[in-house]
């Protein structure tokens, strides 16, 4: 029995190459045309991978021919950068992929959901058999363990997620937080949506153009506030997200100080993603105020990534243990299958019928 993984990812191919092989095949087709017993196709924006089991060796070329569209099949002198992993390296690769170690943003969790979807799709079409079932179930378990036992998924890495994560570190649950969005640009909208998705219900939008403020407020489920009134809002709000095109600072310690005296018991979190900055940097020196400009948000994102990278060794150790254990369990299954027939015990049946 052969089990292998053939694919290409952001490590080996650019997006133009990857898109030529994405969306043209199904797991069922690979089983049928690729002479495999079982197959699973994992396609994401960063990778196209086939995990398969066969009785005899299947060449990489046979699989890649299934992946490429009919129109491109006749291209000559074209050697796409496919990689091939077999046996324990195939298992290790899948465990690394599922745990987010092979992702462009180390530790991202989207890949696990995509792998689960790919497994579900292949299972529904009947392309997954006992081996891939065991392999993927173990991969999901490993990914969960890696996330639980290491900090690989800790820390946010985009402007919106950093803002939301910092807000949660300050306020805990965001459902009772009042957020003011100043400026109605694209990043503001994305970040506002990130806040709403984490439970913020009181969202106010202010913009020089009131119509645009109303538009954004409607889009994110908030309400518009006239631009002249935005400073007085600082008495009530917990989070200020600002990204106007103003050439000068809109918020200075002098403006904020009288309002802070009335709200000494509540912190104020300011995210200033405008360039030039809307908030004077001295505001960060004020008690109970936490000011993050675009550079500090980027710096937090970089720190998160660095922290995630530090966790890779711990994650690799967990994966390595699981690879050894999985390969052992498969070998035991194979040796049992090679023994003379005896009455199978409960739980061994599926393994026997699969020839493992």
């Amino acid at each position: 029995m052969n089990f292998f993984c053939i694919g290409l990812s952001h490590h080996t191919a650019n997006v133009a190459t990857r898109e030529q092989f994405a969306g043209n095949a199904t797991a069922e087709l690979i089983v049928r045309k690729g002479a495999c017993c079982e197959a699973l196709l994992l396609t994401t924006c960063n990778r196209v991978e086939v995990y398969a089991v066969s009785n005899k060796r299947v060449s990489t070329d046979e699989i890649t021919r299934c992946l490429v569209s009919e129109t491109r099949r006749n291209l000559r002198n074209y050697a796409p950068p496919f990689y091939r992993y077999e046996d324990d390296r195939c298992v290790q690769h899948l465990f690394r992929v599922a745990s987010g170690l092979d992702s462009m943003v180390v530790g991202e969790s989207e890949i696990l959901g995509q792998a689960k979807k790919a497994y579900e799709s292949a299972r529904t079409s009947g392309a997954v058999g006992p081996f891939l079932h065991r392999l993927f179930q173990r991969a999901f378990r490993v990914a969960k363990q890696v996330r639980t036992h290491t900090d690989i998924a800790r820390g946010a890495v985009s402007v919106g997620s950093v803002a939301v994560e910092l807000a949660q570190r300050i306020f805990g649950k965001l459902s009772r937080c009042k957020v003011l969005v100043l400026g109605a640009g694209e990043t503001s909208e994305r970040t506002a949506r990130a806040f709403v998705s984490r439970g913020v219900t009181d969202l106010r939008v202010s913009n020089r153009s009131f119509d645009r403020a109303c538009e954004l407020a409607q889009a994110v489920g908030g309400h518009a506030v006239p631009f002249d009134d935005w400073t007085t809002q600082c008495r009530e709000i917990d989070i200020l997200l600002t990204s106007t095109a103003s050439e000068t600072a809109l918020l200075t310690p002098e403006i904020l100080a009288p309002m802070l005296r009335e709200r000494l018991d509540r912190p104020l979190f300011i995210i200033d993603i405008a360039v030039p900055r809307d908030v004077d940097s001295d505001v960060n020196e004020m008690e109970g105020v936490y000011l993050y400009d675009i550079d500090s948000i980027r710096s937090v994102a970089e720190q998160s990534l660095a922290m995630r990278r530090q966790q890779v060794a711990a994650a690799e150790a967990i994966i390595s243990d699981h690879v050894t254990d999985f390969i052992d369990s498969i070998s035991r299954g194979l040796s049992r299958a090679a023994q003379p027939a005896k009455q199978p015990s409960l739980g061994e049946t599926s393994l026997r019928t699969s020839g493992l």
């Binding site: 036992h149 290491t150 900090d151 800790r154 820390g155 910092l166 949660q168 570190r169 300050i170 306020f171 805990g172 000494l264 018991d265 912190p267 960060n284 008690e287 109970g288 936490y290 993050y292 500090s296 710096s299 937090v300 720190q303 998160s304 922290m307 530090q310 966790q311 711990a314």
Partner: protein, 264 residues
């Protein structure tokens, strides 16, 4: 025999501290469950020690500095076990274990387990006064620990330097809620402790009374200033550390003078 219980208990707290340090160095900072059980186990052995010592003395075992330190360590562990999980402040265990270890280690190493030359008679009001005051100290100690955690978290947020521990510390507002609740709990117990001190039936040394009332006033001032919004949370957190340092100094003073002039 009783000291063995205390040694085992100290080993439990030491294990929690070592585990935290190892995890922290490995940058895999997930010590809460282990710490909670290690502190829980340590607490059981502390209780066994205090129980054996209490039976031996025929009264609450707070008769010398050694016992006071152990009782205080027991109070800190007790309040942590009650408060930590309730407010999801399990990481507090990583900060609580060193404090308890320090108190107990000091008690074990220093030659302070000096028995009174005369058998002390049981006085229920005096024992109630001493024990409830020490449990109040336990609450103040936890408020101090939460204060340290608050300042640590606040500092990281201000400087934009977020370390691994940042993601494991509770949110600032939750930490501050815990600080105020612990302050109120400690203050209520301490008020009870001071009031019961006047019911012991013995004249109390004036210096002790003045110092105890001064400490009570300090905590009352912190709570009142917070209530009137005169103090920002950061200053309240810092004052919790100052308050507990003062409480420790007072405790040492009271126990030291009590050993010189014991109440029969």
């Amino acid at each position: 025999m009783d000291r063995y219980f205390l040694i085992i208990s100290t080993v439990c707290f030491l294990t929690a501290v070592v585990h935290t340090v190892v995890e922290f160095r490995a940058k895999v900072f997930r010590p809460w469950r282990f710490n909670f059980f290690a502190i829980g186990l340590g607490f059981l052995f502390q209780t066994a020690f205090l129980s054996v010592r209490g039976h031996e003395l025929g009264r609450c075992p707070i008769t010398n500095l050694f016992e006071v330190f152990v009782f205080l360590a027991w109070s800190v562990a007790l309040i942590y076990l009650l408060v930590g999980p309730a407010y999801r402040l399990s990481l507090m265990g990583a900060f609580t274990a060193p404090v308890v270890l320090l108190l107990q280690g000091l008690a074990l190493i220093a030659p302070i387990d000096v028995r009174h030359p005369v058998q002390l008679t049981a006085n229920s009001w005096l024992e109630f006064h001493a024990s409830i005051s020490l449990i109040a100290y336990g609450a103040f100690a936890l408020a101090c620990i939460a204060g340290v955690m608050y300042l640590l978290q606040e500092r990281q947020l201000k400087t934009h330097q977020l370390h691994s521990i940042f993601y494991h510390l509770p949110p600032l507002t939750n930490l501050f809620a815990a600080i105020t609740r612990l302050l109120w709990l400690g203050f209520a117990l301490y008020t009870l402790g001071i009031a019961s001190g006047f019911l012991t039936g013995h004249p109390l040394p004036r210096t002790q009374v003045v110092a105890a009332v001064a400490l009570w006033l300090l905590y009352a001032a912190i709570l009142q200033a917070w209530h009137l919004k005169w103090l920002a949370p950061k200053r309240v957190a810092a004052l919790c550390i100052l308050g507990f340092s003062a409480a420790l100094a007072l405790l040492w003073g009271i126990t030291f003078t009590a050993q010189l002039n014991p109440i029969p």
